[in-house]
Symmetry: C2
Subunit: 235 residues, 2 copies
């Protein structure tokens, strides 16, 4: 399918990629608000109007960058998870590995992080293509807990949950073919959101004059999150 279907098609994908690369560079340099189609076109030596052949609007360019960013941070999570051997490390270690991997990516790409986990751009409505990449980090976390569950190393929380909450959790589990107790899945979603709360506060400057030892603090908080989903800490 991606064979030589004409030089035009290849040129098109090359130019598309060049536009995204230049846009990403501007994003990293100045942030999403200052990303300008005209500047991208200028830098690429083409007319600004020509750029609209590749992305129908500025929001479409941003959407493409968003998808890429989701995939990049998801990949960072998966790579961190698989970095060491499979079952040789404890679930808690893999959990923290994912979290620190995600944090490292976020610290290295703050503007791209802000693009996906900051305020949504005003006119923007998440298209269907973003939902799948957006789930990768969460799925990586679920995977760890699932393995721990299979290995019997999961301490299920035994607390009463409102019916609608467990319904959501079970629907979520069914959607991804995960057989985990509703309470665990609920805790997982919470931990997932809270992980990005920690990251956003650090990246968006909320920890200024509050937390200095950010890395150590993060590690500690992430360990606490692991405990809250039922992962037992090795002693």
């Amino acid at each position: 399918m991606t064979a030589i279907r004409g030089a035009r098609e290849r040129a098109r994908s090359e130019i598309t990629e060049a536009i995204k690369a230049e846009a990403r560079a501007q994003l990293a340099a100045e942030g999403a608000a200052k990303l300008s189609l005209r500047a991208v076109a200028r830098e690429l030596g083409m007319a600004s109007s020509a750029l609209y052949r590749y992305f129908p609007s500025r929001d479409d360019l941003l959407t493409a960058l968003i998808v890429d960013a989701y995939n990049a941070i998801g990949e960072a999570a998966e790579r961190a998870r698989d970095h060491r051997g499979a079952a040789t490390v404890s679930p808690v270690d893999r959990w923290t590995a994912i979290c620190t991997g995600v944090r490292a990516w976020a610290l290295a790409h703050p503007h791209e992080y802000a693009l996906i986990y900051g305020s949504p751009v005003p006119g923007y409505r998440a298209p269907r293509t973003t939902t799948e990449p957006a789930a990768r980090v969460g799925l990586a976390l679920i995977g760890v807990v699932r393995e721990a569950h299979a290995a019997g190393a999961l301490k299920e929380p035994a607390e009463p949950l409102p019916d609608p909450v467990v319904a959501d959790a079970l629907a979520l589990g069914a959607e991804h073919g995960v057989e985990l107790p509703g309470a665990v899945l609920t805790r997982l979603v919470g931990a997932w959101a809270q992980l990005f709360g920690l990251l956003s506060f650090e990246l968006f400057g909320q920890f200024q004059n509050v937390i200095e030892a950010r890395t150590e603090f993060f590690e500690q908080a992430v360990l606490q999150l692991a405990r809250s989903v039922g992962l037992t800490t090795p002693r």
Copy 2:
């Protein structure tokens, strides 16, 4: 000081307030990115250049709105805390009251929430005047835990913490005259950040197709946060 120091001075503060009000309206309608000084001036029937007598730049207007938003959400937290009688409700109830109060404000003012807890605006550096209002929600949470501690209703976590982390926590406590164990303060900062992780995910659409029963889920997660800082759940 605020006496009748001339009609000019009063007119100035009135116009300043009118500008902020109109800007807030545009913010609520379209979001921070589409807030335009010219549109504000147009709506107020004045020349756009005249507006620069009151706010030297767009970022300065935004900063004013940010300070107001921090104060508004802080006030919402404090009002929720004090809503019922003082010691008649348990610390956990006051904790969840603050959190749900903050959530209610955020849901009612999503764009203002995004302004303060979303991606920071590019050229923007938080001035000294924002740090104090920004701390109000956190201080409200600390207050609840401090009362519980004084009443002996706090279960301190007994876990080893890295030295730099406890140092940060104790410095934070000293700054606000709070005598709480370092481990508790550390957990508190984490819970504070995680609370806004939950809110941001809900407001920024990350829970779409994931969580439907948002209110119930939030209550559950917040209760879990209360537990993580050592507040004992009443049974």
